[in-house]
Amino acid sequence: MIAVIKFPGTTCELETAMALKEAGLRGEIVDHADFDPDRFESVVLPGGFSFGDYLRAGAIAAGSESLKKIKEMADSGKKVLGICNGFQILTEAGLLRGALLPNLNGRFLTKWVYLKVVRDDTAITRNLGGRVLFMPIAHAEGRYYGEGDWVQRTIVMTYSSATGEVNEKWNPNGSLWNTAAVANESGNVVGMMPHPERASFPFSRSTDGLQLLRGLGGR
């Protein structure tokens, strides 16, 4: 069973749970205050505006009790995926390195983007190395930033053209090296700004999100 954590202000929990079902997995929406980590094999932190995204996106949720439990799960090797606000929470809580800064254009931005998979040793990108996926972003604070040699190694997906070219032209928010998704060293904790659950249904504009979500199954 996969826990889909809901904080006050989370907006994407319903479609995330439905997308997991579409991927052949079982997800359960759990209130962050009632979260019992022993019941779940993996965790998704869905998108939204946890605690209104006041102060900084994800900052208040990162300090909640549930994140301590999620950290323990991650340390024990369980899979953790943060989508959009979930990614912001994971960086704020220190489960992922780096920071997500306000978009360079200073605005919220919804846009369909192409993503090139550059690291295939993570929970959600096994066998997807080099693939180009199509799904939307929707965020105001998604400009990934980090300092140090480690940054390059964490990147899982980059914003690209439809054919997989990666350069500044395809960078929607000013992320360092077009970074759209990162993972920890062992690849079991992944954060991504794009929304796979919005590209997961027969009526969606794309179903590429399912390829990522399926990775949450198994150990």
């Binding site: 505006f49 209104g52 929707a138 009526f203």
Partner: protein
């Protein structure tokens, strides 16, 4: 409160009202809450068909229609014009919050928003500032609460320089029926959210012109995080509550008075949870603090209900109960501070205004322009450029059910939980309405009908918003009445009931100049089939369905170049029959592009093709019209027409139905627009389409 109303109040109470009672009744009898200037005429909309489950008769916060499987679709349209003029960000954001709470109040889950924005000229710095704030505010609230803004309108006109129009529509869905307004004595009244000093006197504020005086008390701060808690918890606990009332204009006082119906209530204001200390009971009564709701709950369920709210640290308190006694009593620390008998609660004042004469046919000075200049002016007009700068700031993908996205087609489409598709579109045409509000109202209803058919949807219901200057001006009042009759006639003709709406008067600048009359319609329709994304390519033939009629009065061409033109008289049967054909073609997969011919006429309808970096050749002689004037053929906005790309078979099918359908040109790879001997380079049009708004707004 005016002297007549005060006298009336005295006679209803049978005694002198105290100051609290006057303050309370002033809110209830304000234009905003009582519709005293409009209610009489709005009854013209009082008809429905079998699918309507909530119409204007209910006089509720929203309207609703039912699908075959029992799914109910709720529609609500509301503006926040005056607050947005003062504080564009918070004004627009709180408007979104209010319209969402109205949908929740009838027991539905909000699934989509539309925003229809009208501001001053794009060249004006203050207007751009207002627009920036309004868009940011709508995004802030809609994104944070997780309801997608899937479409809308944006146009610029000097008429809205000091009085922007910020209309937001919300659509909700319920699969478990709606909350009925049937109260029983003994039910408890419960409030959630803290009450503060913000937003004092908003109801009467919304009913007054902006006079430049200090309106500080009326500023409300948007808090979508709290709004989200209220929404999620209410939807989660829907089974525990019998009825819900949003605390909108007029605060607790008006909400309770509007709620009780034939019964009564006792409210203890000292139990209302406060944000600031030492508020007077009068302030508690009329405060319009956002993110509050009142619930009607059986006594045994109150504890469980409030427990859920308190779990997320959100104030929840029982403040009174429904009584069989026919009066509403507000007490504070054991003392009665206001007591209103039912006879006064039910009474609504009527304001009667004199009705002006129909406007004279108008003439504006004609500014001669050659065809090339005319075409380019329309193609590059700021009302017709890409609105991506606006909608990219909205999370139009949240809920993962958006099918036809903003900017894709004439209407937006989402997938409903039952697998059907809901199409939505908002339409207004103030440039036309300023000359003839009756014809214009019919025309905008017809336009919305056509727009929905381009995505294959069958229109089911509409909500309206009637926005004008002061009703004290006979000309303005005439426009209001004409708009009502125009909408009502079209609604009846198309069998699309108007299920709810709003009226907003006193939209004028500090010199008392009214805005252009701006009736607005939001229409919803249903289709079984997922509409396709339109695809066109070089070599495709362009088909024009329908007969082009002269009369450029109120058109974009007339706005740009003036002249003496007739006002087109909508022929609704044209709109109906052509729309039904187009809808069936879309559903049968026979068309790859379907565009309503509206603003900018045929030239305007070419823009979605040109923006794909394509060119067009137009054979002007092939356009069937009642005039040989190329200006009529290219710029007429007469109804009943569509520009199409599709299967050849549709031409004969149209003709079998007695509707003209002609090949009028072709899409070309070369990026020029050719009309007869004229060839216009389009590169600049294409780049201005994509970048104009972005560049002007940054």
């Amino acid at each position: 409160m005016n002297p007549e109303e005060l006298t009336k109040l005295k006679s209803l109470l049978g005694r002198d009202p105290n100051s609290t009672e006057i303050a309370l009744m002033e809110q209830l009898w304000s234009e905003h809450c009582s519709y005293k200037s409009s209610r009489f005429y709005l009854k013209t909309f009082s008809w429905r068909n079998e699918s309507i489950v909530m119409g204007v008769q209910e006089w509720g916060d929203a309207g609703a229609f039912k699908l075959d499987d029992g799914t109910i679709v709720v529609l609500k349209l509301e503006s926040h014009n005056h607050p947005s003029a003062l504080d564009p960000f918070n004004g627009a954001a709180t408007g979104v919050g209010g319209v969402i709470r109205d949908v929740i109040s009838v027991g539905a889950r909000p699934v989509a928003l539309l925003d229809m924005l009208r501001v001053g000229p794009i060249t004006d710095r203050r207007s751009r500032e207002i627009l920036r704030g309004v868009v940011k505010g709508i995004g802030f609230y809609g994104n944070s609460i997780g309801v997608p803004v899937i479409g809308g309108e944006l146009s610029f006109d000097s008429s809205y320089l000091n009085n922007p129009l910020v209309d937001v529509a919300c659509v909700g869905v319920s699969t478990h029926g709606l909350k009925s307004k049937t109260l029983r004595a003994g039910q408890k009244l419960v409030i959630v959210g803290l009450t503060g000093l913000d937003g004092m006197g908003g109801a009467s504020f919304a009913s007054k012109p902006l006079d430049g005086q200090d309106q500080r008390g009326a500023i409300q701060i948007a808090d979508p995080f709290s709004g989200k808690i209220v929404m999620d918890k209410t939807l989660q606990l829907m089974d525990l509550v019998d009825d819900i009332k949003d605390l909108g204009a007029g605060g607790i006082g008006v909400a309770i008075l509007e709620l009780v119906g034939e019964l009564g209530a006792v409210i203890d204001l000292s139990r209302v949870p406060l944000r600031v200390k030492n508020m007077t009971p009068e302030q508690v009564l009329v405060s319009e603090t956002q993110e509050r709701m009142i619930y009607v709950i059986e006594p045994s369920k109150v504890e469980k209900f409030c427990g859920e709210f308190r779990k997320v640290d959100y104030a929840c308190e029982e403040i009174g109960e429904v009584t069989a006694e026919s009066k509403v009593t507000f007490i504070f620390e054991g003392k009665v501070i206001a007591s209103i008998p039912n006879i006064a609660v039910k009474y609504r004042p009527i304001s009667r205004w004199s009705v002006g004469e129909r406007r004279e046919p108008f003439v504006t000075e004609y500014r001669n322009s050659n065809l090339e200049e005319s075409i380019l002016s329309v193609l590059k007009h700021e009302d017709l450029v890409s609105k991506e700068w606006v909608y990219s700031q909205y999370d139009y993908e949240v809920l993962a059910s958006t099918i036809i996205r903003p900017g894709w087609a004439d209407a937006s489409v989402i997938r409903l939980p039952n697998g059907k598709f809901l199409a939505l579109k908002g339409d207004a045409n103030p440039d036309l309405c300023q000359w003839d509000a009756f014809r214009c109202a019919k025309a905008i209803f017809a336009e919305a009908f056509r727009n929905l058919s381009t995505v294959g949807a069958k229109p089911r219901a509409a909500v309206d918003h009637l926005q004008f200057g002061s009703p004290a001006s006979p000309g303005v009042y005439r426009d209001f009445i004409d708009s009502v009759y125009g909408l009502a006639e079209a609604s009846k003709f198309f069998n699309v009931p108007i299920v709810g709406g709003k009226v907003s008067f006193y939209n004028e600048d500090s010199n008392g100049n009214p805005i252009k009359p701006t009736p607005l319609v939001v229409m919803a329709g249903i289709t079984e089939r997922r509409p396709p994304k339109f695809q066109v390519e070089a070599g495709d033939s362009l088909l024009l369905l329908g007969f082009t009629r002269g009369g450029l009065g109120g058109s974009l061409y007339q706005k740009l170049f003036g002249g003496k033109w007739e006002i087109p008289d909508p022929i609704l049967v044209d709109d109906l029959r052509a729309s039904e054909l187009v809808s069936s073609w879309v559903n049968r997969g026979l068309v790859r592009y379907a565009k309503d011919v509206g603003k900018g006429g045929l030239v305007g309808a070419l823009i979605p093709i040109i923006k794909e970096s394509l060119g067009v050749t137009i054979e002007i002689d092939s356009i069937i019209a009642d005039s040989t004037d190329p200006r009529v053929k290219l710029f007429s906005e007469s109804g009943g027409r569509f520009l199409l790309v599709g299967d050849d078979s549709i031409i004969s099918e149209a003709e079998e139905n007695g509707i003209h359908c002609n090949k009028i040109g072709q899409i070309t790879e070369k990026r020029t627009l050719r009309v007869g001997d004229l060839e216009i380079e389009l590169q600049e049009v294409i780049s201005s389409y994509h970048s104009l708004l972005e560049e002007r707004m940054n």
